[in-house]
């Protein structure tokens, strides 16, 4: 699993509550990504980071924020969880970055918003 740990692995939360998911890597890779996986949609990019304190939006970033204060940690926060954010969230890392670079994924966090 390329030294990627996601926590928690499972979480159930109520609508309107804030939620933070954590991704920790031991590979010292510069690039980190948060994707969500939903049936019929594959994986869609939420946010990504290209260095400490350097982040940018992906294609489905509304309702999410991220922070990266250390190379090894990338946090995803759902500011006020909604049922549409029920999903499986994957963190990925890449050593090279944007183009022509394979992604290595963690094992995911299954989030249920009730």
């Amino acid at each position: 699993d390329a030294g990627i740990t996601q926590s928690p692995r499972h979480k159930v939360t109520e609508t309107g509550t804030p939620v933070t998911l954590r991704c920790h890597q031991t590979e010292n890779h510069r690039y980190m990504y948060w994707y969500r996986q939903d049936p019929g949609h594959g994986l869609r990019l939420i946010h990504y980071s290209y260095g400490v304190k350097d982040t940018d939006k992906g294609e489905v970033s509304d309702g999410y924020s991220v922070s990266r204060s250390k190379t090894e940690d990338f946090l995803l926060t759902l500011e006020s969880a909604t049922s549409s954010q029920t999903s499986v969230y994957f963190c990925a890392i890449s050593g090279v970055g944007e183009n022509n670079s394979p992604l290595h994924f963690g094992n995911g966090t299954r989030l249920t918003v009730t």
């Binding site: 699993d1 990627i4 990504y33 994707y35 019929g40 949609h41 594959g42 994986l43 869609r44 990019l45 990504y48 992906g58 994957f90 990925a92 944007e98 183009n99 022509n100 670079s101 394979p102 992604l103 290595h104 994924f105 963690g106 094992n107 995911g108």
Partner: protein, 109 residues
């Protein structure tokens, strides 16, 4: 709107068969085309990848065929085994990785 369209959604073959999964894209700026394999409860893992200057790439039993003019690429699995049963995602990259919707493959013994 899905930038990478993948078909079929699901596929069932007998052991030894050759499942084929197809993907199509619109953005000609894409320059890296990987395939990922995902088992239940795990994250996707890189299986094989191709760049647009190559029409075919083979790694073991897995082959990517790439048709630049048609903007299509496909994954072939030779001599498929029950252990190949998984969900397969095609992807295309320029800036960040875009994924197809996935194909759930079942290989029956």
């Amino acid at each position: 709107q899905q930038q990478v369209k993948q078909s079929p959604q699901s596929l069932i073959v007998q052991k030894g068969g050759i499942p084929i999964i197809n993907c199509a894209y619109e953005n000609t700026a894409f320059d890296y085309f990987p395939w990922y394999q995902q088992f239940p409860g795990k994250g996707p893992a890189l299986l094989i990848a191709i760049r647009p200057d190559v029409s075919e790439k083979k790694e073991g039993r897995f082959t990517i065929s790439f048709n630049k003019s048609a903007k299509q690429f496909s994954l072939h699995i030779m001599d498929s085994q029950p252990g190949d049963s998984a969900t397969y995602f095609c992807a295309a990259s320029r800036g960040y990785m875009r994924f197809g919707a996935g194909t759930r493959l079942t290989v029956k013994p």
